[in-house]
Amino acid sequence: MIELVAGNPVQAFVQQVVSGLASGAVYASLALSLVLIYRAMDVANFAQGEMAMFSTFIAYALITTFHFPYLLAFALTIAISFGGGVLVERTVIRPFEGSSVLTLVIITLALFSIVNGTAGLIWGYVFKTFDSPFPFGSVHFQGLYIGYQDLGIIGVTLVVLALVFVFFRYTKLGLAMRAASLYPEASRLLGVRTGWMLAFGWGISAAVGAVSGMMIAPVVFLDPGFMQPVLLFAFVAAVLGGIESPLGAVVGGVLVGVLLALLGTYVPGGQNLRIAMGLVVIVAVLLIKPAGLFGRSEVRRV
């Protein structure tokens, strides 16, 4: 993703920012999927990255084993992920709705373990390459090289974000889902099936996560652990943006992407220290501005 540019340091800097935007877009979409679930039921889904990993493996299998064209595989994967998300909510999460934070953390970690193990069982632990849908090469613009791949990732992410926004803002189902998460009791009285709204929330979240997995997969290699750092950066993005704010997740994702790209270039050993940097950002945000950039501050009732 990083293309080296000789010469002008300002140009080199801008170049890094641009390539940070692409990975930032991936973090943003996974962060958005985390925030969707967090808003609906106050769970930080630790299995989100593994679910996206599994979706990406499904796309991989559709393309390499069954020889589907990329676009069809892409669409099918999103549909399957939606169904999988709904199924997971109905079977694994539903019995624990309203449990303590610790219980929910444990359940999502159990899910993490199961999904990871299943992927390992089916596809093994050998690294695989996932071909990029975007052409090789780059656009030359004002002395900057912007890869088609980066442009493609940013474009697809923007489309996904727009779709999610339109869905929640302008459709009746989206309205019902927002109502169900904000005022579950009132919604139920008005005939909204809140349980199913939660399940749909998981479905949409899994679908958005699947897109993030399929976008990053050509850049990194595919193995059952490949989404774990992405999940961490998505968490960092969500915390930075305010864990309840979808807009914050997107802004946070982009910021984290750019920050990590700069870190990798300008700090020696920065590649190894990326995750430690994520830890530092999480802790710093929580200490300085716990609500994040776009969140409301937490009110505790006694």
Binding site: V101, A110, T118, G120, N272
Partner: protein, 365 residues
């Protein structure tokens, strides 16, 4: 059943003797690999006990205790095999164990300070990041830690010319340390400190308004938890005579949490059951790799089994295996007492024994 020998109920004596027989029997009857595995069980007991203090009793979710184990493990490895101290040379294994605990405790204390401001899910996120950060950080400073290649140690030999195999000695040493470390944990949890931790877990607001200092007790819980994790990490390194950064992946921290939850959160005996499970379940999962369902062979890596057991435990037995056993004992006693007809109404076992001054049938937490 109320017969007593030397003031103790007979059944607890029988249990103690049975426990001792099993303890001594294991290294005598099993092969060296199995003995070695049981030594690892002891190290896991210590690590999970530490996590229990932090997560089970104090309610601070930690997904990052593997990081404290890493600090303990590397303290031992670097002092005993990589960096000789001036004038002293390489530090003997035995001395590095308490040092590993102390260094880890220091890190735990430092982590506990920002953690004061983090509650619930945020603490889980931060410690998750901590768990993921360990391996790349260790790799990054490879000049100091040895990096990917790891550090090799000489295998520990029994001292004083004891006629034991290496594995038998490791087994004895690890279990002796586990037993010693159980005592302060046991006492702390029953003291003012333990009650303060549990008060914080159940309601921080209520705890603060009763005059409990959150800052003091939370950082204390982190430091002590890290101390136990550090010792456990040190013992692992001594057992394996090798350490590398990949030993401290996210999987290790998750394994600790899995062991804790399956054994029994906030139960003193939970860590023992949990440790046995996390060491031996992978072994049996590997053995069952021959079982095939169509094109898919079951087993190999135990992640799926762990996940399923975890969900089942949280759903059916939130107090873990130890809680389940406790419930079984109580059920048996109430049956037995009712069947005797001595008491027209079954008296709860706890009350009954309280009036007779016997062993409490349940660990009240």
């Amino acid at each position: 059943m109320n017969a007593r020998v030397a003031g103790l109920p007979v059944y607890s004596l029988v249990l103690a003797i049975a426990g001792l027989v099993v303890f001594i029997g294991i290294p005598l009857t099993t092969n060296s690999f199995q003995t070695f595995q049981f030594a690892n069980v002891a190290a896991f007991v210590i690590a999970i006990l530490g996590l229990n203090i932090l997560t089970g009793y104090s309610g601070q979710i930690s997904l990052g205790n593997g990081a404290f184990m890493a600090v303990g493990g590397y303290t031992t490895a670097l002092l005993a095999a990589k960096w000789p101290l001036p004038f002293i040379g390489f530090v003997p294994y035995g001395l590095t164990i308490p040092l590993a605990g102390v260094v880890a405790a220091l890190l735990g204390f430092l982590i506990g300070i920002p953690a004061l401001r983090l509650r619930g899910i945020y603490l889980a996120l931060a410690t998750f990041a901590l768990a993921l950060a360990v391996t790349p950080v260790l790799n990054n400073y490879d000049g100091f830690t040895g990096g990917h290649a790891g550090v090799f140690l000489k295998s520990a030999r029994p001292p004083f010319g004891l006629d034991l195999s290496n594995d038998q000695w490791l087994y004895l040493m690890c279990w002796a340390i586990a037993a010693i470390l159980y005592v302060p944990a046991f006492l702390m949890l029953r003291s003012r400190t333990g009650r303060a931790w549990m008060a914080i877990r159940d309601s921080e607001t209520a705890a603060v308004s009763s005059g409990i200092s959150l800052a003091y007790y939370k950082t204390l819980a982190f430091a002590i938890s890290a101390f136990y994790a550090g010792i456990a990490g040190s013992l692992f390194v001594i057992n394996n005579a090798y350490v590398d950064p990949d030993s401290y992946s996210l999987a290790l921290s998750l394994t600790l949490l899995i062991g804790l939850v399956i054994g029994g959160l906030a139960n003193v005996w939970g860590p023992i059951l949990g440790a046995v499970l996390v060491v031996w379940l992978p072994y049996f999962a590997e053995k069952s790799a021959g079982i095939r369902l169509g094109p898919i062979s079951l087993g190999g890596k135990p992640d799926i089994e762990f996940g399923i057991v975890l969900i089942l435990i949280v759903f059916f037995a939130p107090n873990g295996l130890a809680g389940l056993i406790g419930r079984g004992i109580r059920w048996y006693r109430s049956k037995r007492d009712a069947g005797r007809g001595a008491a027209p109404e079954p008296v709860p076992a706890v009350l009954k024994e309280a009036t007779q001054g016997g062993e409490p049938s349940e660990i009240i937490t």
